[in-house]
């Protein structure tokens, strides 16, 4: 469970809000669908009544005219039945599909919003992980929308029970009361038995699904397995997972089948009682044979709607759970807040870092990091402590607000600008920047500016293109998975260079490329960014050697500020960090 301060940050959960909004937005379609469901179920309930009447009025007395009449009525009943079902289905599905689409788009917009998601404000099951976000926007949006179907089906079932009740009561008061008073306890009993059984079944099914995760995991790591000859061990591991999945599935089958059997027994017992009582009433002459058949038929029929109510309640419970996750994601507080300062007209690229604290324990602004970068300068920043480097980059990229101090570009504090504007002034390109499914060309022009030949050469992408038969048209695969790490990194670098921001911060842009290419890239960056402010957060000597000056940051402060050559020759800590 979260610590007290975590709950204080988290907003009060309003689980039903997305569901309520959805119902309000779609109320017309939902109403139409529900009336269709009511109509359809009413007709279904009347089918056994018509069967009974046909036997009683036509078959028993052998009356041909009555037969034609009742078969004609049966035909009309079925026309009404099928049209009502059509209405229920069409309107209901429209409401569900439109709702889930709207909900999904709301979630996507929130997930991609420039202000970001504050991980501290996210509840455990929707916390920042990609998988969780995708599953909320994909699956939960759908499950929550299916709550609409739950409402519609429940209304239809209630209508069916109501119509049956009225018919039964008109046939005979005692028989009607028997069914009406007997049905609710039967439903309740079934529901009471079903809920824990279904819960157990679902739990076991979830465990059974694990085996598939194990297989996916092993085959994703197959190169590792092959390299080490661990295929046999992997096979054994999967066999264990598969067998425990089999046991779990069987354990789930027990409650499933017990429930199925119970349904049959309880329904049958109920039918028996109604048939016996109805038979006695018919013998007395209190009710007709047609009434008896209708009563028996209705009782048989009633089990359907009764079970559907339980099913609809289950659907609603699931929808509620999903709606809670949807609401929780939508209400995660932003990671940073933007201001309203307009973007400066003149953007030479003057960067000032003023007392930004990099130590996790917090540093007073006076002792924080102070760096002044003149427009057009290329500055290398060496931060041997990875955590400090990450914090600096997060602050520069506006992924988090600085604990103290501030960052100014063109003398404007970044947090005074709209978040997207701040990133237009100062772009941070990570060493593991993501590519998107599509072609190399599409990824390079992500920012609408196609890179020049100069940029392609500077980033080493020209060599990547030379290797790929399809060149710019080559598909990169999901998240760039068809390219090697080095190829991905170069494409991302070219993309950042093409964006051409006033201040460009590159974090370790060459960690995945070979030494030969790295050297080319180092000179390429200097050439392409000449006269444009560029900060290289790295420990690569090739890149640092190409900078105008290099600062060394230890314990959140600058301890050396000089050119690479002199630092490499004279400064012990620097040599240790960069050359070793």
């Amino acid at each position: 469970m979260p610590a007290p301060q975590a709950t204080a940050v988290a907003p009060p959960p309003r689980p039903l809000r997305p569901l309520r909004d959805a119902v309000r937005e779609e109320r017309r379609r939902i109403a139409i669908s529900a009336s269709g469901a009511v109509g359809h179920q009413t007709c279904e309930a009347l089918v056994p009544v018509v069967i009974g009447a046909t036997v009683d009025r036509a078959i028993a007395p052998g009356d041909t005219g009555a037969l034609v009449l009742w078969i004609g009525l049966l035909l009309l009943l079925f026309v009404a039945l099928t049209l009502a079902y059509r209405t229920q289905l069409t309107a209901g599905e429209r409401a569900i599909e439109h709702t889930q689409h709207r909900m999904r788009m709301r979630l996507t917009r929130r997930a991609l919003d420039p202000v970001g998601l504050d991980p501290a404000g996210a509840p455990d099951d929707v916390a920042g992980s990609t998988g969780a976000l995708v599953s909320v926007a994909g699956t939960d949006a759908r499950t929550a929308a299916l709550g609409i179907e739950g409402v519609v089906v429940a209304l239809g079932a209630v209508a069916a029970i109501g119509v049956s009740a009225i018919v039964l009561l008109t046939i005979s008061l005692p028989l009607g009361l028997l069914v009406l008073l007997g049905a609710p306890p039967v439903v309740l009993l079934l529901h009471r038995v079903a809920v824990p059984l279904e819960a157990r079944s679902e739990e076991q099914q979830a465990r059974a699904a694990d085996a598939s995760a194990v297989a996916t995991d092993l085959l994703t790591g197959i190169r590792v397995l092959k390299g080490l000859g661990a295929e046999a061990a992997a096979e054994r591991r999967y066999r264990d997972a598969s067998q425990s999945a089999r046991r779990a599935s069987l354990a789930a089958a027990v409650p499933d089948n017990v429930l199925a059997g119970l349904n049959v027994v309880i329904g049958g017992a109920f039918l028996t009682v109604v048939a016996y009582v109805g038979g006695r009433l018919a013998l007395d002459g209190t009710i007709s044979i047609g009434d008896l058949i209708a009563a028996v038929g209705l009782t048989q029929f009633l089990l359907g709607p009764l079970q559907r109510i339980g099913w609809a309640l289950g659907l609603l419970a699931q929808a509620r759970g999903s709606a809670r996750r949807v609401a929780a994601l939508l209400e995660i507080p932003p990671a940073v807040r933007g201001g309203t300062t307009p973007l400066p007209e003149d953007r030479p690229g003057a960067l000032r870092i003023e007392g930004v604290g990099l130590r996790p324990d917090g540093t007073p602004a006076t002792t924080g990091l102070w760096i002044d970068v003149a427009p057009g300068d290329h500055v290398g920043v060496v931060v041997p402590d990875a955590a400090e480097a990450a914090r600096l980059l997060d602050v520069l990229a506006r992924r988090r607000a600085p604990d103290c101090g501030s960052v100014r570009v063109e003398d404007v504090p970044l947090d005074g600008l709209a978040v997207a504007d701040a990133r237009r002034l100062l772009l941070v390109s990570d060493h593991d920047a993501d590519l998107f499914d599509g072609t190399v060309g599409e990824n390079l022009t992500a920012d609408a500016v196609p890179p020049s030949a100069e940029v392609l050469a500077a980033s080493g992408v020209d060599e990547v293109l030379a290797v790929l038969p399809a060149g710019l048209e080559a598909a990169v695969g999901e998240r760039g998975s068809r390219l090697s790490g080095g190829q991905r990194q170069r494409v991302a670098l070219a993309r950042a260079l093409a964006a051409d921001p006033p201040v460009l911060v590159l974090h370790d842009p060459t960690t995945a490329v070979d030494a030969v290419t790295e050297q080319r890239i180092a000179t390429g960056i200097s050439r392409v960014r000449r006269g444009r402010t560029t900060v290289l957060v790295t420990t690569s000597p090739s890149l640092l050697a190409a900078c105008d000056r290099v600062v060394l940051v230890v314990d959140g402060r600058i301890v050396a500020d000089d050119v690479h050559d002199r630092l490499a020759a004279d400064h012990g800590t620097y040599r240790e960090a960069v050359l070793r």
Partner: protein, 593 residues
């Protein structure tokens, strides 16, 4: 997708045979399950005639005591049917799950044995979709479709049988529904099912768009791409919505057919009942029973028609599973008993006239090199120079187009798969942490190793410190769904696996890439320790790795262009020397190697 179809799919006949082979050892169970379900359906079908009997008693003005027997039998039939349904269903589940487990284990086993070349590219997706997607479809079918088909199928069959027992003419009347059902089903399969298939494809694309955009959210924000990405997600979500709605529109035709069949069948039974009663060929009760029979079969028939598509889909998935499961099994030569064969000291590696090309484009042109026992070699070169291909071939995971690799004098091809794995190991570019506990991950390469041995290996590469600090030490859950390890730690684990594997020859392919520069140095130390006492080739990314190696090989366009110790190559003033000068800044005094 490239449309490269890689893995075989079984024909319907092969699939049936494979299922037959799986069922054969479990024949008794199969017979019992089906027998019980038939009996359950039969018990259920006693209900309409018993109700008919009640009707006849009232028409004949019988006594109250005459009602008792049919009523008691009704109750008994219900209890019997319930019991048989539960037990039969359970046995059916037991049978289905056992078949499924055996089949999926074979699919995974054969997939793990596939050669790496086949897994590269489009093949990996195909394999993954078979071991997860297809298995999921089939297991879902076993849970829902199989029982539905079994019970509904028997109910329908026995309904017809029950009608025949009442009067064969009633059965014929009921069959009037069949032509409409057939037409409806054909419409469904031809019109609705393709839309459902398309819907699943579109949903997959939508998920793909979501994953792509959300997992790249950092980059999306950095470059201000949110509007573009949102538009893409919107487009795919709208496509999903529209296809789903189209499916519903088409489904309506099918539902009208189902209802129409119910109407026609029911009306026919009533009319024929009327005629037979009037001709004194049938009692009113029997006619009632006939109508109730037919009414009772509405739901099972509807269900049967609705699961038809799932059934078809499950059969397709099954054919894909059987296709993989039927691949020939790779011979094993005791790869499981590696503990008895721990190596004794390093061995040398000879590479002779090695050539390789991928689909016509040459990658290696005649590489000859001899690596002495215990030598540490660094391999340097640009991307595309052939370093990774070289490493894969020497490690025996890739078959060369031509040429020879000898380890300790024996050609790779002459080592059996088990012996090969006891001799040489490759740490590949793509790191992976297996889901499960950290100890589970390590035990993949050393099955049954005690904790002490795991700790020794971790200590050897200097990873014991951070492992000890994890919440549950070796028992900490890592990988998918567990604790996310940094790139440095992932590689650290990869090196610990090498120590556990304890082979004389190790190839390390850009093991330090992407770890960031700070992590790289920790890993270089760890690699040095892990490789001590082994013959090793490191595809070096940082030149400091080359400087500390016994020997440096510089590769370019599939050939080795420089070969020698760091100092010699620097002194020779060639390609490597240029690199080194650039790397160390102005080429001031080189760090101690």
């Amino acid at each position: 997708m490239s449309g490269r179809l890689l893995l075989p799919t079984a024909s319907p006949r092969e699939t049936r045979r494979a299922i037959g082979r799986l069922v054969r050892p479990r024949r008794g169970l199969a017979v019992a399950a089906l027998g019980l379900l038939v009996a359950a359906a039969a018990a259920g079908l006693l209900v309409p005639p018993l109700l008919g009997r009640l009707v006849d008693v009232t028409i004949d003005r019988g006594t109250v005591s005459e009602l008792t027997a049919p009523a008691v039998l009704l109750g008994a039939a219900a209890v019997t049917q319930g019991l048989l349904t539960a037990v039969g269903g359970l046995l059916l589940a037991r049978l289905g799950e056992a078949l499924l487990a055996e089949l999926r284990e074979r699919v995974v086993a054969r997939s793990l044995e596939l050669p790496l070349e086949e897994l590269d590219g489009a093949g990996a997706g195909d394999v993954l979709s078979r071991v997860s997607g297809d298995v999921a479809v089939v297991s879902q079918a076993i849970r829902t479709v199989l029982p539905a088909v079994a019970t509904a199928g028997f109910t329908v069959a026995l309904t017809v049988g029950g009608l025949v027992l009442l009067d064969w003419r009633l059965a014929v009347a009921a069959l009037a529904a069949v032509p409409i059902q057939v037409v409806g089903l054909r419409w469904y399969l031809r019109t609705v099912v393709p839309i459902y298939r398309r819907e699943r494809v579109v949903q997959g694309e939508r998920t793909q768009q979501l994953v792509d955009s959300v997992s790249g959210a950092r980059t999306v924000r950095a470059l201000g791409l949110h509007e573009d990405r949102e538009a893409r997600v919107r487009a795919s979500s709208e496509r999903g919505r529209d296809v789903a709605l189209e499916g519903v529109l088409r489904l309506r035709g099918f539902l009208h057919a189902v209802n129409g069949a119910e109407l026609v069948g029911l009306a026919s039974v009533l009319v024929v009942g009327f005629l037979l009663v009037r001709a004194d060929a049938l009692t009113v009760g029997a006619a009632t029973a006939g109508a109730l029979y037919f009414h009772r079969a509405f739901d099972p028939v509807g269900e049967l028609l609705m699961v038809f598509d799932d059934l078809q889909e499950a059969m397709t998935a099954l054919a894909r599973m059987v296709g993989v499961a039927s691949l020939p099994e790779t011979a094993r030569d005791g790869a499981e008993t590696e503990d008895a064969h721990r190596h004794h000291g390093p061995v040398d590696v000879d590479v002779l006239a090695l050539r390789h090309d991928y689909g016509g484009s040459p990658v290696l042109h005649g590489v000859d090199v001899r690596i002495a026992a215990g030598e540490h070699v660094a391999l340097i070169g640009t991307t595309g120079a052939g370093k990774t291909t070289f490493a894969k071939i020497v490690a025996g995971v890739l078959e060369p187009s031509a040429g020879d690799v000898r380890i300790g004098g024996t050609a790779l091809g002459d080592l059996g798969p088990g012996e090969l794995r006891r001799t040489v190991a490759l740490v590949a570019q793509e790191p992976h942490v297996f889901a499960g506990t950290l100890a589970d991950d390590l035990r993949l390469v050393a099955p049954g190793a005690p904790d002490d041995e795991l700790w020794d290996a971790l200590r050897h590469v200097g990873a014991d410190g951070w492992v000890r600090e994890l919440p549950d030490g070796l028992g900490t859950r890592v990988g998918e769904g567990g604790l996310r390890l940094s790139a440095t730690r992932v590689q650290h684990l990869a090196l610990a696996r090498i120590v556990l594997r304890d082979v004389p020859v190790v190839l390390l392919d850009e093991a330090t890439a992407e770890a960031g520069s700070a992590g790289a140095r920790i890993l270089e130390d760890a690699a040095l320790r892990a490789l001590r006492g082994r013959t090793s080739v490191v595809v070096a990314h940082r030149l400091t790795q080359a400087a500390t190696a016994d020997r440096v090989l510089v590769m370019d366009r599939g050939e080795i262009v420089e070969d020698g110790h760091h100092d010699e190559l620097v002194a020779a003033g060639g390609r490597y020397a240029d690199l080194w000068l650039a790397w160390t800044g102005a080429g001031r005094d080189a760090p101690a190697g």
